[in-house]
Amino acid sequence: MSIVCRDLHFAYNGNPILTDVNLAVEEGEFCALLGRNGSGKTTLIYCLAGLLGLRQGTVAIDGMQLAGATRGDIATRVSLVPQEHADMFPFRVLDVVVMGRTATFRFAQRPGPEDYQAAYQVLSQLEAQNLAERNFNRISGGERRIALLARALLQAEGTLLLDEPTNHLDFNNQYRLLEKIKTLCREKGTSVVASLHDPNLAARFADRVVMLNGGRVLASGAVDQVMTASMVSRLYETTIRRIETDDGEVVFVPCSTDIECHGPAADEMETGRWT
């Protein structure tokens, strides 16, 4: 087992954000976190990355308990592709990627030739070697995502945490990026936890789904067991149809008032609530 998280509770200024979350992701498994805005997806990812102090519960990566481990020990086992990139100096992409080696450096150490070669190699594996000398602030959103993914893979390719990796990506790039990540799971046994906003992407790429609602796990399990029309409707608090195409692909479509739906009745849920 690669990621095991037990009875996790997290509170911010006394407000509970995550309550009693249990999660287990095996080697080579792609786990999608689904939930509405503010349901605790990002917080859970930060807890798994050891960036937040837990109030209760444990997180273990490859058998190592995060509580009490040093930043360096954690960073060599689990890497994170964060959601927003705050203002950055106009570094070259290769300089950004090579920072994935930070955890292995001593006080006065700087990246050497072999670090730059490894960084370039990871970029090549992602078919992004042409970005190496470009200015990180001047490339497109999709290219930035790839560069940050390369940095994460250079850092630790065993366990990868992705916070809404498809945000700001065009339709094509969303699928290409997740395709790449899926390939990593298959070929390198990378365990992935990714928060996604689109249940269709989860249905297509994930092996396992964890549904979060108000910081609690609404449901978790294999995709075909958990992602039923009624569960997805309950998760997003609106009536959603599940359509199976002739090729066996699953698509979720929200119902509008003029289409007859066979799901949970809309009036059972607070459909008009913004979160």
């Binding site: 930060y46 990355a49 960036l51 930043r71 360096g72 954690i74 960073a75 060599t76 890497s79 994170l80 964060p82 705050a86 203002d87 950055m88 100096f89 106009p90 570094f91 070259r92 290769l94 300089d95 920072m99 994935g100 930070t102 955890a103 292995t104 450096f105 006080f107 006065a108 150490q109 700087r110 990246p111 030739p113 730059y116 070669q117 370039y120 090549s124 070697q129 190496a132 000398e133 200015n135 602030n137 001047r138 940095r151 850092q155």
Partner: protein, 350 residues
């Protein structure tokens, strides 16, 4: 791609950067030598032999002895301290700009200069305080100001960098108000002018004794910052990314802030406030070699030394009465900064 081709992409591999750094180092030596011969006591390069003989006790002419005194006790220590202070302020500026991910930040953002100036003003007001007392007070209150800003940020404990800027503003205002109060309470004929002149900044008080203090403190801090400079790249990504990459941002930030504050406090203690060096020089370095601190920091340090030495030489050579050095650095630095903003407008800041 072949391995050697990738090695060529390393920041240190660019031949232009190596040439630039060598050029700056040679330029610094050249400016250092030139500044020793410029000033109101005319000393010709040919008189160097005579000066050295006076130092060795082999010659005792009235005229040459005076020149030897000016050369050995005034110009040499002054030039060396000016270079050290310029390097220190520039490095401090580069560190703060990196930590705050903001190219418009100066080393004064956490109130270190205001604190040190307050300490100096306090020393100037206390009857019979020696030069050493004034400098010690300046150093102590400079660090106190930064410490206060750090404690406030620590107590608030959310969004550390933003709160640190605001805490710095609080500390800065308190010390500036205290300085105004001290000025108000001071004797307007003797003490007030002394405080005002201190705040204008001048290298004219620099002596060998100051160099013995400044050399190990500023020099040691510069060396530590230089060897650990790669960490500034990682810290400039912000706490979240630095942590997830395996760096402890709290500890490293504290270390860098401490080293920078020590350098700025010592500088203010020796020569008062010198503006613009810490803001403009890192900016120039970034324009020349890019934002990677591996290359940018040495360039900023060297150009900071050159800039302040040129400014000080101009300050004492341009007019009969010596100009305050901050006047010169501001007159050169501010237009230069405007030009750099214009030049860097397309580098993708936002």
């Amino acid at each position: 791609m072949h391995d050697t081709a990738i090695t060529q992409m390393m920041p240190g591999a660019a031949k232009a950067n190596t040439r630039l750094k060598t050029g700056l180092a040679l330029g610094l030596i050249l400016v250092l030598v030139l500044s020793l011969w410029i000033g109101w006591v005319p000393i010709a390069p040919t008189e160097l032999g005579g000066i050295v003989r006076v130092w060795l006790g082999m010659e005792a002419g009235q005229d040459i002895a005076g020149k030897a005194l000016v050369f050995g006790m005034v110009r040499i220590p002054r030039a060396l301290i000016t270079v050290l202070v310029g390097m220190g302020l520039s490095a401090a500026g580069a560190v703060y700009q990196g930590l705050f991910r903001n190219p418009l930040v100066s080393p004064d953002i956490l109130g270190v200069s205001a604190g040190a100036t307050f300490g100096a003003a306090l020393g100037l007001l206390m009857a019979g305080s020696s030069w050493l007392t004034i400098q010690s007070l300046a150093f102590f209150f400079g660090l106190t100001a930064v410490g206060m800003a750090l404690v406030i940020a620590r107590v608030v404990a959310v969004r550390p960098m933003l709160v640190l800027v605001l805490a710095g503003l609080v500390v800065l205002s308190i010390f500036n108000a205290s300085i105004t109060l001290l000025k108000y309470l001071s004797d307007p004929y003797n003490e007030l002018p002394a405080i005002v002149f201190w705040m204008m900044g001048s290298m004219s008080r620099a002596q060998w004794g100051d160099l013995r203090v400044a050399m190990p403190i500023i020099g040691g801090s510069l060396i530590l910052i230089h060897v650990a400079r790669y960490k500034l790249n990682v810290l400039s990504l912000g706490d979240l990314q630095a942590s997830s990459l395996g760096l402890n941002p709290g500890i490293y930030r504290l270390l860098f802030i401490f080293l920078s504050s020590v350098m700025v406090s010592v500088s203010v203690a020796i020569c008062g406030q010198v503006l613009w060096v810490g803001l403009v020089m890192p900016h120039i370095a970034r324009t020349l070699v890019g934002p990677n601190h591996e290359e940018m920091l040495p360039v900023a340090v060297l150009s900071g030394g050159i800039f302040l030495l040129l400014a000080d030489t101009a300050a004492r050579a341009l007019t009969m009465a010596e100009l305050p050095i901050s006047v010169v650095t501001a007159f050169i630095g501010a237009p230069l900064f405007a030009y750099l903003l214009y030049r860097n407008r397309g580098s993708g800041w936002s």
